[in-house]
């Protein structure tokens, strides 16, 4: 229990500091911070509609955040979740519109399986093998592969094989049988929520209750120790990236089948990049990822209404997430500050005693 509370401390402090700095920015630019935050909050949680949309945009964040977290836990800094998301999306949409005559559950399952495997291989084969065999840095390779995937998507819907007849760069709509039904009508919230929550449970179980998870975590915290323990280190590096990509691909599939229902020509979804922050804020804890995904989703959905109501640009939410990343990255500074503070107190009491 104490460990859980201690784990919550850094993220909470980071969020609070970021919100305060956001306030100061608003004050400096002549806005009313209380009004703006109230608008942000009600825009994110204020009505069933808003709440549903916030939860809906948390779903891909949870899934891709889990993917990043699995990679991090195994010491593989997969920052290419965005690309894996697009690979998953493409595969899911392709199965969604081209396969016909399957019953709904089967069709969805097929699309998801193909999407996750494709995304897993995307992360596992090139970055994974390059790392395991030649020691190539995963940050570089996953990032590069990410851009390849993003532009592949662009090609597919702009005069590529997946383009719908006509002039708009987009794919055909997926079959009805491939659509994940909505949980609440006229919102973006689909049954995909339960896929995301199930994934949280599965990832937690995988990481902490199975020998596979033990191996992944051992490789992640001490490769030499893992080797000594008899673990095939390169194999589990590849596997970590594969699983990581799988989850990012699942995010894409659930988003396509549940919300978008076709591929558009867009440069990024942003989910794969935000996923890194989601995992960082949650300190790679699967359950923490639910909370941190909701937080970033709320910033995104609430940001729009903040702009409408109070005139504060929605980009301010980017400032806030930026500050949070900065603070989390700097969390190693915290003990130092604490030590200085304690020294200060000691001196103060000493002087008091004299």
């Amino acid at each position: 229990m104490r460990r859980v509370l201690e784990g919550l401390l850094t993220p909470l402090v980071s969020i609070i500091i970021a919100i305060i700095i956001g306030m100061m920015v608003m004050l400096a630019t002549g806005h009313n911070p209380l009004q703006a935050y109230a608008a942000l909050f009600s825009g994110a949680f204020g009505s069933t509609y808003n709440l549903s949309n916030t939860i809906a945009s948390a779903i891909p964040l949870i899934l891709s955040g889990l993917g990043v977290a699995v990679g991090f836990k195994a010491g593989q800094f997969n920052i290419g979740a965005e690309g894996q998301y697009w690979i998953g999306s493409m595969a899911a949409v392709w199965v969604g519109y081209s396969v016909k005559g399957l019953p709904p559950v089967l069709h969805i399952a097929l699309a998801i399986v193909l999407a996750t495997v494709a995304a897993g291989l995307w992360a596992g084969i090139i970055p994974g093998l390059a790392k395991a065999l030649f020691g190539a840095h995963v940050v570089i390779t996953t990032m590069m592969m990410s851009y390849i995937a993003i532009f592949l998507n662009k090609y597919m819907v702009e005069n590529g094989p997946m383009m719908e007849k006509g002039f708009t760069p987009q794919s055909p709509v997926i079959q009805n049988s491939a659509m994940i039904p909505k949980l609440i009508e006229r919102t973006q919230l689909s049954w995909g929520l339960f896929i995301a929550l199930a994934a949280v449970l599965v990832v937690y179980w995988l990481l902490f209750k199975t020998t596979l998870g033990f191996r992944l975590r051992a490789v992640g915290s001490n490769t030499r120790g893992a080797k000594y323990a008899g673990i095939n280190v390169p194999l589990y590096m590849v596997l970590a990236l594969f699983i990581s990509g799988t989850l990012a691909g699942l995010a894409g599939a659930v988003q396509m089948l549940g919300v978008q229902q076709r591929l558009y020509d867009s440069f990024t979804s942003g989910y794969g990049f935000t996923a890194i922050v989601v995992a960082l804020l949650a300190n790679n804890n699967p359950f923490g990822i639910i909370l941190s995904a909701l937080f970033f989703a709320a910033l995104a959905t609430g940001g729009q209404s903040m702009q409408l109501v109070s005139g504060v640009p929605a980009q301010l939410t980017d400032v806030i997430s930026g500050i949070i990343i900065f603070l989390l990255a700097a969390k190693k500074i915290m003990p130092v500050i604490r030590k200085k503070w304690r020294k200060h107190l000691d001196l103060a009491t000493e002087r008091g005693a004299q």
Binding site: T211, R217, S221, G225, Y228, A229, L347
Partner: protein, 504 residues
């Protein structure tokens, strides 16, 4: 002789621990004063207070009769107190001279290389610490790096030198050189505080010894008027058997056979054709100076390094090509030299570290799922019977002291009931109590008819435990001698590469 540094009733409390309890110390001019104590006895806390890294809760420190209050090491340095830490604080890419002047460079923006090197050359002559000021620190041996640290202290005009566990990382030759350096400094009248837990070194080099136990200074004695046994008793507060009692025993069948093994790391051949065997019920000691291939040899036997040629046979099966997992399950246990890098996953709980080698096997796991209860029960049992402290199985390995970390590894490896235990430097950096415990466990395995391969840089350890002693030099096995008959001189010669004349 006048008193130089005087410490009176110094007390330091950390949350939940009384690290130093009314500690007293008196350092005279021109003496080497050893502070002897087990790990965790409070030696480090004491010197850190002297050096200004910690502030004492109560008590006083005075230098030449003047009371001192430091709030940072910078003030301690200004007052003339110099300290060489156990882990060096040097920049490998810079030269010796640059490292020494770093932080208090003479002159302004322009760095006067020639001038500085001359200054350092003079300084090294003055203190008889010969070193080339223009050499790159990264290219120096550990012993020479330590010399740089000592020079750094004198460059800052230290009047008192504190050496914190200075021999921990040195080879026997380097220890010898360090002792000579200390003696020369004493001749120049520089008082030295020498922190150690090694009895023999303290006995050899110091004039007086202050023994610490459980945060208290229990006694200060003249070194010449005491015996190692007496010092050991003061240190642990109970009678310690320094001599290992080892009943005679005839060895059985060979368990491990190494044939013409060659191991390369990078382009260099570290092991060049070594053959020997370890039999049931014997402890085979492998002696040698660090860096002569003994650890590469062990890594090749355990499967961490590939063998370039030759064979490793375990209980009649050729395991030269087998992976680590196969060798482990076949019955080879291994206490690696570097417990932080290899033996433990520091960020894992003790429960997980206790099953690091067998986590995938029943009863700890089945069908890929780990069994928490079995793992916890196992951890409880080992933690209890090996007296691992703190006795909390969910503690993170990183937070344990070195001795307890080593106990975790020992417990894990011994409890696997191996046919062969390879112990590389199993007692490095441990205190008398823990060393004894580990030696007892090795002897217990021997008594149970298991084979033990002991690799150690400490000749005393090898000599007191081994039934047969192999000496390795430059990747070659110089000789195998019967444990009872080998003398220190013989082994020493072999370790430096001098072949003995054929007997009979």
């Amino acid at each position: 002789m006048s008193v130089c540094l005087e410490i009176k009733n110094l007390t330091k409390r950390f949350p939940g621990v009384l690290a130093n309890d009314r500690v007293n110390l008196e350092l005279r001019d021109g003496e080497i004063h050893a502070i002897l104590g087990e790990n965790g006895a409070g030696k480090s806390t004491l010197v850190k207070m002297i050096y200004g890294l910690y502030q004492p809760d109560s008590g006083s420190i005075s230098l030449h009769g003047q009371e001192l209050h430091f709030s940072s090491p910078r003030q301690a340095i200004q007052a003339g107190i110099g300290m060489v830490h156990q882990h060096f604080m040097l920049i490998p890419a810079l030269t010796v001279a640059e490292n020494i002047v770093l932080g208090s460079e003479p002159g302004n923006i322009h760095y006067r290389r020639k001038e500085n090197e001359e200054v350092i050359r003079q300084l090294s002559k003055q203190y008889h610490l010969e070193i080339d000021p223009s050499a790159k620190v990264g290219d120096l041996t550990v012993g020479l790096q330590q010399r740089v640290e000592i020079l750094k202290v004198f460059y800052r005009k230290a009047k008192v030198l504190i050496l914190d566990e200075p021999t921990a990382l040195l080879t026997p030759q380097e220890v010898e050189q360090l002792i000579q350096v200390m003696e020369r400094l004493r001749e120049q009248g520089i008082p030295i505080v020498f922190i150690s837990h090694k009895l023999d070194e303290v006995k050899r080099v110091s004039d007086r010894v202050t023994v610490m136990r459980a945060g208290k200074t229990v006694a200060t004695v003249e070194t010449a008027k005491t015996t190692p046994q007496e010092l050991a008793n003061l240190m642990v507060g109970r009678e310690v058997v320094l001599q290992v009692s080892k009943p005679p025993q005839t060895a059985g069948k060979p368990v491990l056979e190494v044939q013409d093994l060659v191991v390369a790391q990078g382009h260099a051949e570290k092991v060049r054709g070594v053959s020997f065997e370890v039999r049931q019920g014997e402890i085979f000691g492998l002696a040698g100076i660090d860096g002569n291939g003994q650890f590469e040899l062990v890594d090749a036997i355990t499967g961490l390094l590939p063998a370039k040629s030759g064979k490793v046979v375990f209980r009649g099966n050729d395991i030269t090509k087998a992976n680590v997992h196969k060798r482990t399950t076949a019955g080879i246990s291994y206490i690696p030299q570097d417990r932080h890098a290899d033996g433990l996953v520091l960020d894992f709980e003790l429960t997980e570290n206790f099953v690091l080698r067998d986590f995938a096997r029943a009863p700890f796991a089945q069908f890929g799922q780990m069994h928490r209860q079995a793992i916890e029960a196992h951890a409880e049992r080992l933690s209890e019977s090996f007296d691992v402290r703190p006795h909390r199985i969910h503690a993170i390995a990183r937070n344990l002291s070195g001795g307890n970390q080593q106990k975790v590894i020992l417990a894990r490896e011994v409890s696997r009931e191996p046919e062969l235990l390879i112990a590389a430097q199993p007692t490095r950096g441990l205190d008398v109590g823990a060393i004894q415990f580990i030696h007892d466990k090795l002897l217990e395995l021997r008594a149970n008819g298991k084979a033990v391969l002991l690799v150690s840089l400490e000749l005393d350890e090898i000599m007191s435990l081994s039934d047969r002693i192999g000496v390795i030099h430059d990747g070659r096995l110089m000789a195998v001698l019967p444990g009872g008959q080998a003398t220190r001189e013989q082994l020493g010669l072999l370790m430096t590469g001098v072949k003995l004349e054929k007997e009979g």
